[in-house]
Each structure stands twice: as C-alpha cells, then as structure tokens.
C-alpha cells in the first residue's frame, strides 16, 4: 500500500485535459501515492507564468512565445473552443457549478507535494526559459520519466 507511485505525462495544453490531469494527480496523492507529473510540449503552457518575463530569444522563439498561451487562465478547450469563446463559457459554467479551477488544482498539487517536472527538450523546442515557468519545478528528460514510470503502477499520457 505504501510507496505506491503514479506518473502522468501532460502533453496536452488544453484546459479540459489539464483539469483532468490535475484531478487525477491530486486524487492519487490523496490516496497516499507519490505522484510525478511530466509536462512536455503543449503541456508546458500550463506552467507558464501569466506575466511577461523578458528573456533573450531568437525570432522563432519570440513567435512561439507570442502565439502560445501563458498560464492556466489562457488555455483553450479541446472541443468547441471557437477561438477562445468556448473556454470562456466553460470557465463560466464551471464557476457557477462550483468546480475547482485549474489554478486551485495546481496550488493543491503543490500542497500535496506532487513532483512537477518540465521536459527540457520541449522547452528548447518552444524556446521556453526556466524564468518563464512557475516556481517549484524540476527539469528533466525521458530517462528520468522512464525511471519513475518503472516504479509506478499508474502511468498516464494525457
């Protein structure tokens, strides 16, 4: 029972999938499991700070930085997003129904000592610097993920 581990790869940067990821992660931590979340590709957008952080970037990296959403409030939903309107409506209805927000879930994940890891290769691809991501992250690659997954009995790719 003790020392059970769960890992989640958060590949998607869609609001709905991010919420699902964090619900499973916090739920698993509440069950007493040690949880690690790996954020890769679009999933990194969930971890971006909301405010603009001035860092040196190439032209392409600047384009990415402009076009990709900055943090949990800016994410779109995977279906019926309608240029962001869908995400707004979704957040509105979730608030009315008192559903926990993604921001609150991220805070809860930190409180539950969930390990959040940013994939450094994806950071390179998208030109995202450590300074642009929220505090309290670890940085690693595929071998670290596989080592964790090997010891875990729940491994999800979202």
């Amino acid at each position: 029972m003790e020392n059970n581990k769960s890992t989640l790869i958060v590949f998607s940067g869609d609001l709905d999938k991010a919420i699902a990821s964090f619900i499973i992660a916090t739920g698993s931590a509440a069950m007493g499991n040690q949880v690690t979340m790996f954020f890769t590709f679009w999933g990194l957008n969930i971890l971006r700070k909301e405010q603009y952080v001035p860092v040196q970037k190439s032209f392409m990296d600047k384009m990415f930085a402009k076009m990709l959403p900055r943090g949990p409030e800016k994410l779109g939903i995977s279906k019926m997003n309608f240029g962001g309107l869908g995400a707004k409506l979704m957040k509105y209805t979730m608030k009315k129904k008192n559903i926990t927000t993604l921001k609150e879930l991220i805070e809860m994940a930190k409180e539950l000592d969930i390990k959040m890891v940013a994939c450094t290769m994806s950071m390179d691809v998208l030109g995202i610097k450590k300074e642009e991501l929220i505090d309290g992250l670890e940085y690693a690659g595929v071998a670290s993920y596989l080592a964790e997954a090997n010891e875990a009995n729940i491994n999800l790719f979202i």
Binding site: I23, G27, A29, A30, M31, G32, I99, T100, M108, L112
Partner: protein
C-alpha cells in the same frame, strides 16, 4: 457518534472532498474519528474507495437532505 474532528466539505466538487479529507485525517492519530460532510454525490463511492486504498475505515454513513455524512476511523 463522537468524532474527534468535523470536516465541512459541502459545496466542493471532485477531487476536493477526497483531498480535504486526506489532509484532515493526516492531522489525526490512528483510531481517531473524522466526521465528513459533503454534497458531492460521487463521494458515496469515492470516500469508501479512498479509505480502502489509504488504509482507513468508514464506520458509518448517512444522508440528510442532500448532505452525505461519513464517519471515518484513521487506520
């Protein structure tokens, strides 16, 4: 039933009832009892499932006007 602690999780949605219950029970000693109030209907199967996995025991539960109450003994 006498509880050592009461947790009001009414109005909270999944996964918060389970997460808050975990945090509350962490503060108790083994054998002590937590009384939980929640309005999440999913808790009916979630709380027993959580207790089983986390090693605690649901000793009593009831429903009163849409509020589900659980008495959980820390394992």
């Amino acid at each position: 039933m006498n509880a050592d602690k009461v947790l009001d999780a009414r109005g909270l949605s999944c996964p918060m009832p389970v997460v808050r219950t975990k945090k509350a029970i962490d503060e108790l000693k083994p054998g002590q009892i937590l009384e939980l109030h929640t309005t999440d209907s999913g808790a009916l199967s979630d709380i027993p499932a959580w207790a089983k996995t986390a090693g605690h025991r649901v000793i009593e539960q009831s429903e009163d006007n849409g509020v589900y109450k659980f008495w959980i003994q820390k394992g």
